[in-house]
Amino acid sequence: MAHLRAIVGEEGLLEDSSRAAPYECDGLAHERCRPEVVLLPRSTLEVSKCLALLHSHSIPVVPRGAGTGLTGGATPVEGGVLLGTARMRRVIEVNAKDRFARVEAGLVNIDLTRACCDEGLFYAPDPSSQAACSLGGNVANNSGGPHCFKHGNTTRHVIGLVIVMANGEVLDLSAPEVDPVGYDLVGLFVGSEGMFGIATEVTVRLTPTPEAIETLLGVFASLDDACDSVSAIIAGGWDASALEILDKLTIAAVEASVFAAGYPKDAEAVLLVEVEGSAVECHENAEGILAILADHGVLEVRRAQSERERQKLWAARKGAYGAMGRIAPDLYVSDVVVPRTKLREMVRATTDICTARGLKILNVFHAGDGNLHPNISYDRRDSDELRRVIEAGDEMARVCVEAGGTLSGEHGIGLEKLAQMKLYFSDEDLELMHTVRRAWDPSQNMNPGKLLPIRACMETRTRPVPVEASGRAGS
């Protein structure tokens, strides 16, 4: 411990149980394990020294960005040390001419756009948590967001990384390469959920700020109509940058909160559409989309008349998860993807799964990508309700995979969907992933117990033991 303190300084090491308490879970609140030690290094060098020391003692390391993940990816279920990047938040370089930026991994997502917006540039991936989540966390989970419908998830924007490997070795891939030289290590690392190493610096591509943006809010009498509109917009070849649906319960939650934006509370669903480009392009796309909405029974369409109004509509959309906190103490945010042609039936199927178990489901999702977020408001102190929530989550994943969908579009697997990995991948697929992981980290001490189910003694370890049951709380 003294050696670690010497590396990160007094402020960079938390071993007192109460100070480590905030690190016992991320957004997957029902899976908790308090870390034995929390390290908050300030530089790549400090991370390297910490990992080298921990590696020499075979101590597991769990990387953590801002802790806004939703799958338990930063929960230290196998003990060891939690290493956070919260004190690494510098913008190292903004190169406006070549449209890239190099930043430290702990930088908050929105702060990158703040750092480059004066140059007419922005960072496109915009998770709902973008005011809090870190770029390093985005890299680990290959995060998305509403505008990833047009711009793509994080992996499409990361062009370089500095990675500290499990043994402390520094892999400098930060040069903004046009194409990888040799194997695409950067592309492979993005989405590896902290199991290959820790990214300490991120080089990202920046996107020119569009000349014009138009935001439309379509109001519908049925969720089905809203879903069908989305399918028709995509099939019609209209270029939207975001297509987001909020259902009635979500609207009610938002409108009762500080994020209220005037969404009609009597609507069964609203469709938030954004188009971007030149003014002419925006106009033409918006007109095409409006015609489709009309064909699908839209009751009313509101067009944002100002940037302030646009921001308000988006604040309501992105604040939806926070607003749901008014309904119950806990929120389970599921994340599944279905073929876009099956949007309507899969939204209905996930809703049925929850209502059949007496659970309150709120839908707010990236309809354009087929990326559903069935959210369940619940109270984890009610063990039976918690059991039904977990069961519903498992069942929703199963039906989506059976419909040709997948387990995650932007949150990752973490702890939450370990068991479901076997629904989507064969034993051979998973074994290959284990093999690749061992090539990166032969010790397998980087974020153990996540993403890849372990087969041992004919039993698949897929869920951590709740902290209360294990008696590890506060230990």
Partner: protein, 415 residues
Amino acid sequence: MSLAESLEDIVGREGLEESAHFPGLPVVAPADDESARELFLFAQAESKSLRLFGRGSKLGWSPTPKQIDFALSTHRLQGVIEFEAEDGTLTARAGSTMGSLRDLVAERGLELSPDVPRPHGATLGGVLAAGASGPDRLRHGPGRLHILGTHALLPGGEITKSGGRLVKNVTGYDLHRLYAGSHGSLALVLEASLRLFNAPRERCALRFERECLDEALGLAEKISNMTLAPRTLTLFHSGSESSWSVDVGLAGLGAELERNRCRLAQFARPDERLDGAAALTRSEELRDREPHAGSSAVLHLASLPSRLADACEALLASFEGRALGKITIQPGVALADLALAPNGGTTEDLARRLQAARTALTPLGARLSLRGAPRLAPNAQNDCIGGPALALMKRLKEAYDPTRILASNGPVGAH
């Protein structure tokens, strides 16, 4: 039993071929996944080394390995597995040509990326393995980003999945990103899924002639700085004439296209303008104008946009006095291909000039590789990788192919 006879036992007579790419070597073309798997198992059992390829259009992008016992072509593994136009996705077998897939999706108003040169001679698997892109990279980004998932045959005979067929998917590691640009050194991609894009509703092609490279690059920079979002932007020098052509491809909805064309015309009068089908034909001509044809080798330069002019200047200075062929530059993505004229110099001279060019380019952060020069040592052809990155790549190669049946000679190392 000879090697050829053993291979014929697996793939049948029609699957045993000859190829000008591999003179004197047996070439097999399995017709199905199971035959491909049997060939891998045979190679394992007999300690044979094989080279994977599609139709051979990009074999020169990676140095030829010294030790190959036979070659495996995917060209008979053809066919579309799933085409969901409304979902904007396509899954096809690796030997399908990019041209056939392009034609298929075009019928539904869609396009695929990368739009590679001579697409009817390039296979999906080969394009993926080479990490190839086309001139549409300016609009859509590098081709590797549009691969949604793969099914790949591992050297040990297992068929494994990565990613899927959906436009958004973060389930599991993105192993398909590893296969893109691996030149078939890790696994044989049997099928791949691609994201599709809306095809442009209208097109316009503009050509500007300029006296010298500086002027051409200057015009390209101005165009890049306008918010035109051109679909393609290509500079071309034929090698024989003195002037450069700057070709701009615009696409989009009618009013938008007209607006951009007018904006461009305000400060530079085009020497030629084509619309509609003629513009599409022009874009295909530009795409297919590969500098490789008729040349001995091609220098491939990758830079940053802001340093491209300096990098081109440094490269041309290093090759001053040596006969050069066609030059193609994509300034928006900072790539350039410079053809070396056949019989333009000795191998030693080429190696010396390459070394000099790299010395000049390194401070500019630019990289240089040589495509299609099998007589040169691999280290002379490609940029070197060192340190932890190389060690990690070797571990990945070892993890995939511990008995090293898949011949490779790229940056990760020869065997």
